[in-house]
């Protein structure tokens, strides 16, 4: 399978060879000394050539030396001191005196809504910025995943093993019950679609492939900063989609006076992190669940010889105990063309290569180059990046290539134009199937199967004529497939491919009408084609099949704004205001083709190769939102700020009577440290804001319609949709207030940012689940109120800062509490999703946090003992009960960064406390006798006694119970009964805490001394690791994060997720 395109890598190598031969303008060495006001030399002062990343630091005596061109500017900066810029002239010596600056933090400029830069001190809302360098430190191929543990209040979970799989991002909890809860991603003003096209089955663990999120298309190396706007006040200007927060990405651009080439080349290795532990004492076969005794081998007489044979037809591991003295015919002893194995009995022992050996070391190659140049009037940047990943599952891979070009030019004194264009091609090959499906890797390995299988032997998965050889034969005599394909057949014959070709970019112009007034016009475009095809080969257990899904997405935003900025009253009062309009047009289409009744010609994967007529379905959708918005900000004397904003949307998805909705915002900032004269307090600010954000719904939710099916006996069957639509839907409304405190002490050696917020969503647009006896399974309605409130803290400490050594410590913490305050009358629970098997559901329950797992529970007596039935199994409640929420109590991240001369070292610890998930692998791995616990403590020979009490359980008509006559349970039951009870028994036994402590990132970087690299530039070598350690798990067989099957609201179901991975790698960065 030659999916790895080596071509791109070749081109990069050529480019690299080319650029190292570039030489630059005349350089000279400038030296000098940096001191403070008292003439004390300052060690560790950063000296940077402005507009570049080249620079140095002063030594212990405050001296420095740097190679620089005449005409460039040197910037001298040191925490707690004012920053000084000096133009390099004819002189070769520049000495500088830095002054103490108590207001250093006030200088911070951040990018706010609509890309408008603001002084951070003037902002009345919380925002947290992560630099591109920090995001790319550990070379995560998905920039959004790098937010994990880094930003307070942002919860990112992703299943790392699933090859570019989905990430769930929640900012300050879920504000909608069934609608989108993902934040809006904006790249240079372009709202970037982050759709996830995973089937419901993939999300619930029912089975499917995880194709990841469209947000994966951003090249992390192009990111200059990523800014998280958490609250409504910050986000309101982006309209309804921003009600879940905004992730604002600013890409790198060319800098004035600098020509720069940056080359990154790296490699990352992925290893499986946590796998379910399997028993190594008993082999495959059916056991006898009614007895403690062991099962034996079957017999088959072939050519007059009677052999012991394994029970191939049962995909379980309750078979005979391993015994090197027993010899049996294994599954591969029946094909004459494999003469070495044919009718050769082999010992019944645990295999040399087992399930754990099935997984490869994944490898990711990451190569990128970026060119940038800036002049006084214009700048340009172009980058090219390629990432190739070979997955941990055999024969899977992902290849992503992205090109970014952006530039701007000051055409005249008044007119500035800018444009950017990005092309990203994401090529997935055979993303592994997850969940409860015959194609699912985990289902084949850990949910059902036989433990004696040798995975090296399974690799011989077909005969010369192409017939599949599976271990799961119907019988010794009959080699046809009972349930399970050979896993290697699945991976090499039943493959899937996906390709997303995406273009996004913008063009814009800014025109200064007067000195105070300017106009901005912008067009933002985002468009992609996403094609997925997959097939099932002739000879598989399932019917041969080919399907192709073709999706086209387009969003265009047209925007015009008029800005007014003026300072009045001797600059005491600053006014900054704008008004604008936006039109957003979305178009989406999907065409799905499927073969029917099998394939005619083996190996031909085309819809025309369908045995029965192929089926094609089509879906088209359009949406338009027109908006008018405006904002006015007043600042008084640089310490008191007030901002008022408002936006009105007209949405095509709402009924005409309700399609216009307005939402206002107000925020204030008070920099109280300006009024105080306290040496210890470097900065102090109080902020307060309130905002509303309206939200529309999806297209076509207003009228009931009939859907056509596959023509049947000459007639197209039509049926009503299962969801009752509503012509009177109103927009849903988020009301959000926030208070925050920003403090910095001791010349900013200690700083903190604290926030408290309360967010309430009302008139939620919900396809509320109703009794199907109404004729519909759900009905669209405005109902309910959902509240999220929480606390966030971000603390930065610099305990040590000397000439050669510094230590920075960052702690972030977020605790979100959600509560569903009401639904509609008479309905206390709304089902969000149904997990596979046993009626376990994910729900929104009135009075409870969002995302409650519901299912049957253990029966407990008054003392809290589990009650055991008369057959020795745990009793199960008649009613379903709340078994916990999927949302954590809190998340926190602890980052430590150390710098010693050119060496830097850092690590990030990510902690989650609370939250639950349900594991299907736990059910079937116990049911089928694969998991270690099914054979631990000799339970298969001796049986076991479940801890608990026996007793009489009496139920009333409502299914409530009382327990009487309790006595300690002493009933011995067979291990297989205990194992199968994970399926037959209550649901609570398969629900686990999602706590974890992870060593999320560890980095070690070394910048080569410049004397080694005369004339080349900077070379930085970074070694890194991700997810190297995990502790504190409730069930050691699973990483709780793998219960992420998509980026939508369906979470908390482990249904056969791929294991998480730990990664380590190396990256080299060259700068010229």
């Amino acid at each position: 399978m030659n999916y790895m395109r080596t071509k791109t890598r070749g081109i990069l190598t050529l480019l690299l060879a080319f650029v190292v031969h570039l030489s630059f303008a005349q350089e000279k060495t400038v030296t000098g000394t940096v001191t403070d006001q008292k003439n004390t030399p300052l060690p560790g002062v950063s000296v940077v050539i402005l507009g570049t990343t080249q620079g140095t630091q002063t030594d212990f005596d405050g001296n420095y030396a740097i190679n620089v061109n005449e005409g460039q500017t040197l910037r001298y900066s040191y925490i707690g001191q004012t920053t000084v810029d000096r133009l390099v002239g004819a002189s070769n010596t520049i000495s500088v005196v830095l002054e103490e600056d108590a207001e250093a933090l006030e200088e911070v400029i951040v990018t706010g809504a609509l890309g408008i830069t603001r002084e951070k001190k003037s902002l009345g809302y919380a925002t947290q910025e992560v630099s591109g360098d920090q995001l790319t430190e550990t070379r995560s191929t998905n920039a959004l995943n790098a937010l994990t543990g880094n930003v307070a209040g942002v919860q990112v979970s992703n299943s790392t093993g699933s090859l570019g799989g989905s990430s769930r991002i929640l900012i300050r909890g879920a504000s909608s019950i069934t609608q989108e809860n993902r934040p809006l991603i904006v790249v240079d003003g372009i709202p970037l679609d982050n759709s996830n096209y995973n089937a419901t089955g993939t999300q619930t663990g029912g089975g499917g492939r995880d194709f990841g999120d469209a947000g994966f298309d951003i090249n992390p190396d192009d990111i200059a900063t990523m800014n998280v706007l958490k609250g409504g006040a910050a986000a309101a200007l982006y309209g309804s989609r921003a009600s879940n927060g905004v992730i604002l990405i600013t890409t790198k651009s060319g800098k004035n006076g600098v020509s720069e080439v940056v080359v990154n080349s790296g490699v990352t290795f992925d290893r499986v992190n946590i796998l379910p532990k399997i028993q190594r004492l008993y082999g495959g076969g059916a056991g006898d669940a009614t007895t403690i005794g062991q099962s034996g081998f079957g017999q088959a007489t072939i050519n007059g010889v009677t052999y012991d044979v394994a029970d191939y037809g049962t995909d379980e591991s309750w078979g005979p105990r391993y015994n090197p003295n027993s010899s049996v015919l294994h599954w591969d002893a029946f094909d004459p063309e494999f003469a070495d194995d044919y009718l050769k009995p082999r010992p019944w022992v645990y295999p040399n290569t087992d399930k754990d050996d099935f997984f490869n070391t994944g490898i990711t190659y990451n190569n990128g180059v970026a060119f940038s140049q800036g002049t006084e009037k214009s700048s340009i940047r172009m980058s090219l990046n390629n990432t190739q990943t070979k997955g941990i599952v055999p024969n899977t891979g992902l290849n992503k290539t992205s090109v970014n070009l952006n530039g701007n030019s000051q055409m005249t004194d008044r007119l500035k134009i800018d444009a950017s264009v990005n092309l990203t091609i994401t090529d997935g090959f055979n993303r592994p199937a997850t969940g409860y499906t015959g194609e699912g890797v985990i289902q084949q390995l850990y949910q059902f199967g036989q433990t004696q299988l040798d995975y090296d032997r399974l690799k011989n998965y077909k005969t010369a004529d192409g017939t599949q050889r599976t271990w799961n034969r119907v019988s010794a005599a009959d080699g046809s497939i009972r349930y399970s394909d050979n896993p290697y057949w699945t991976l090499y014959e039943n493959t899937a491919e996906d390709k997303r070709t995406r273009w996004f970019g913008n063009v814009g112009a800014t025109y200064n009408i007067t000195d105070d007034l300017y106009a901005v016009g912008k067009i933002y475009g985002d468009t992609y084609n996403f094609k997925i095809n997959s097939h099932i080969a002739v000879g598989s257990q399932a019917q041969p099949f080919y399907t192709e899904i073709d999706r086209n997405f387009q969003e265009i935003n047209y925007e015009g704004r008029l800005h007014f900025n003026k300072n009045v009253f001797n600059d005491k009062l600053s006014i900054s205001a704008f008004a604008g309009m936006n039109r957003r047009d979305n178009e989406f289409s999907r065409i799905t083709g499927e073969t029917s009744g099998g394939l005619v010609v083996p190996g031909l994967y085309n819809l025309s190769n369908s045995a029965d007529p192929a089926q094609v379905t089509e879906f088209d959708s359009r949406r338009r939102i027109n908006s008018a918005f405006g904002e006015i900000s007043l600042g008084y004397n640089n310490f008191l700020y007030l901002t008022l904003s408002g936006r009105n949307d007209w949405s095509s998805t709402l009924p005409a009577a309700n399609n216009s909705f307005f939402y206002p915002g107000i925020s204030t900032s008070f920099v109280f440290s300006s009024l105080m004269d306290a040496q210890w307090l470097s900065f102090g600010k109080l902020r307060l804001n309130y905002a509303e954000v309206g939200n529309d719904t999806d297209p076509y939710q207003l009228a009931n319609t009939f859907a056509g099916g596959i023509p049947f006996l000459g007639t197209v069957p039509f049926d009503l949709s299962n969801s009752n639509r509503n012509p009177n839907i109103k927009p849903e409304l988020v009301q959000d207030y926030e208070v925050g405190l920003e403090l910095a002490f001791f010349k900013n050696r200690l700083s903190m940012d604290l926030s408290y917020y309360n967010k309430e969503t009302s008139d939620l647009i919900i396809p509320i689940q109703i009794d199907p006896a109404t004729g519909f399974t759900s009905s669209f309605t405005n109902a309910g109120r959902l509240r999220n409130n929480g606390f966030e803290a971000l603390v930065n400490i610099t305990p040590v800062r000397t000439e050669d050594f510094s230590w920075d410590f960052t702690w972030n913490f977020a605790r979100n509490r959600s509560e569903l305050l009401e639904l509609i009358d008479g309905v206390e629970t709304l089902e969000i999703a149904r997990f596979p098997f046993n009626g376990v559901t994910l729900n929104a329950v009135v009075g409870e946090p969002y995302g409650i797992i519901r299912g049957t529970n253990f029966v407990f007596d008054d003392q809290g003992n589990k009650v055991v039935n008369s057959n020795g199994s745990y009793a199960e409640t008649q009613n379903i009960e709340n078994l916990g929420t999927i949302l954590p109590d809190f998340n926190m991240g602890i980052r430590n960064s150390f710098k010693y001369k050119s060496l830097s070292f850092g690590f990030l610890i990510d902690i989650q406390q609370g939250g639950k998930y349900r594991s299907l692998t736990n059910i079937w791995g116990n049911y089928s006798g694969i998991l270690e616990q099914t054979a631990a403590n000799n339970v298969r020979e001796e049986g076991l006694v479940l801890p608990g009490v026996t007793g009489t359980v009496t139920y009333d008509a409502d299914g409530n119970y009382t327990v009487s006559n309790t006595a300690t349970n002493t009933q011995v039951i067979p291990a297989q009964q205990a194992g199968t009870d994970y399926f037959f028994g209550n649901d609570a036994q398969n629900v686990f805490d999602a706590d974890y402590i992870k060593l999320r990132e560890i980095t070690l970087a070394y910048k080569l001394p410049s004397k080694w690299l005369e004339g080349i530039g900077d070379v930085t070598i970074t070694a890194f690791g991700r997810n190297l350690g995990v502790w504190g798990l409730d069930n050691e067989n699973f990483d709780p994060e793998v219960a992420t099957g998509g980026s939508g609201n369906i979470q908390g179901s482990e249904g056969g997720s791929l294991p998480s991975t730990k990664s380590y790698g190396l990256n080299v960065q060259l700068k010229f």
């Binding site: 059916a286 009614t290 062991q294 099962s295 081998f297 079957g298 029970d311 037809g313 049962t314 025109y511 007067t514 016009g521 257990q541 019917q543 047209y558 015009g560 008029l562 029917s596 009744g597 029965d612 007529p613 338009r624 027109n626 095509s652 998805t653 005409a656 319609t705 859907a707 056509g708 099916g709 049947f712 006996l713 000459g714 069957p717 049926d719 949709s721 009752n724 509320i768 689940q769 109703i770 009794d771 199907p772 006896a773 109404t774 004729g775 519909f776 009905s779 089902e831 046993n838 009626g839 559901t841 039935n869 008369s870 057959n871 008649q878 379903i880 009333d956 008509a957 409502d958 299914g959």
Partner: protein, 531 residues
Amino acid sequence: MKNKYILILLAIFATSLYSCDDGLEDININPNQPEVVPTSNIFTYATKRYTDFSRDSFNSGRLTLPWLQYWGQTAYADEDRFLYRETTAQNIYDNTYLVATNLKAILDQNTNEDTRGNAAAYGNNDNQIAASRVMLSLMFYELTNFFGDVPYYSYGSENETFQGLAVNETSLPVFAAQVDIYADILKELRESADMINTNEPVFISGDNIFGGDAVKWKKFANSLILRVANNLRAVDAGTANAAIDAAIADGVMTSNDDNAAQTYDTADDNASPMWRAHITRTDFAVAAPFVDLLKGDTGNYGEDPRLFEFAAPITATIGEVKDGTYTRSEDYDDYLGIPYAFRNTNFLDRNTYSFMSSKILSPDYKEVLMEYAEVQFIISEHEGFAQENYENGVGASMERWGVAAADITAFVSALPTANQENVLNQKYVALYMQAHTAYADYRRTGFPNTLVLPGETVTLPARQVAGLPPDNRVTTYVFESGPVDPSLTELPFRLRYPQVLQTLNGANRSAAAAKLSNGDVITSKLFWDVN
């Protein structure tokens, strides 16, 4: 100059943005799905969808087909021990209403004065209404027989407890009393039969049960009255007899030509539900108690040649059954049933039990809703187990399955005399592949009396014993029901309400559960089950 230019541009931009505001609603017109479609196309969907779910591998294959011991599972026979899946109960419940709401859409389009004219293009309005009411009656009858009280919809009654399919009035429908539902179904069927205009087609196309034949729909309506009324016999003989007499007078099925069956297509996507279940899996075989009855090993009916139509010889592989290529055998020794609910079926040699026949495992197998034989058995029971109707019933069943005329005559003439046991046991044989109906009969009468009951010891045939692994060779086993309810000594009397109703319609479900004899458990008997 330049300023002005820019301002003009902005003004044009602004105007263009808002001049199109009126078009917003047009953008939201669904290009994928229409709001009105021909009623005949809805009817095509409804009848197929009903048998698709009702007769599929879970709702029939892992429920009543094994419980009545027609079939057994070849592995993982948990449902055979009454550990049916929660999703099965929910599936039956949900889908009944979801199909019913489509039938109601047909009723609405044919009733509403605004749409009645358009709907008439697809068939006589009254006839469309009647056929839809008949289908609704059949479906609600099966639903209420599984659960007891359920939310109910009636086209012709104003009863305030009938609150099903009324999403715009309530999302919390009360559960109508089963006794009221029975009465209303009888009324609905009576009115349907009476309103059919036999001179006009029911649907001009898309009717895959009777091809639009109004006469057959009328007979079907009357015949269904027999089924429903007969099930009331033990609790309300007066109502039952009156309804049956009226139905017979109006005309019930008179031959196999009148049988009501959903037709299927030969393409896999539109094939019969059991064919679809067997495209990639082999989970079922014919169960031993049923095979033993047909072989004459149990009961007193002798060797029944329908065995060769119902099942394949043990030598036939599932591939041969699906391809229809196995060699037909008329030797009763070539047939063995799979031991029912044997915990160790996986140990059995796979050539020691019979799969179903190719006749059943075929893509265009017709799912029978009701047949002439059943009508005759009911009339026999109605007449105090009349010999003639009993013989007609057996004969019609054999004819329907393709038994040679001479063999029919021989078997029928050797039948033991009609009495409750013989009539109902033979009716059970005739209801093969219509296990929901047989399940109701079993609960009402206790027949067939040839089933293995929980706690009973079963002796395995020597051929099956010999195929077991030496370490696990047993000659007998005990039929243990699953631990759902250790007190179970015979078949469950009902299904539990879907758990999700505790959430979605809690108060009404609780009220219905409270009216059950033991609460919402499988051992609570329904009102007509008094044997």
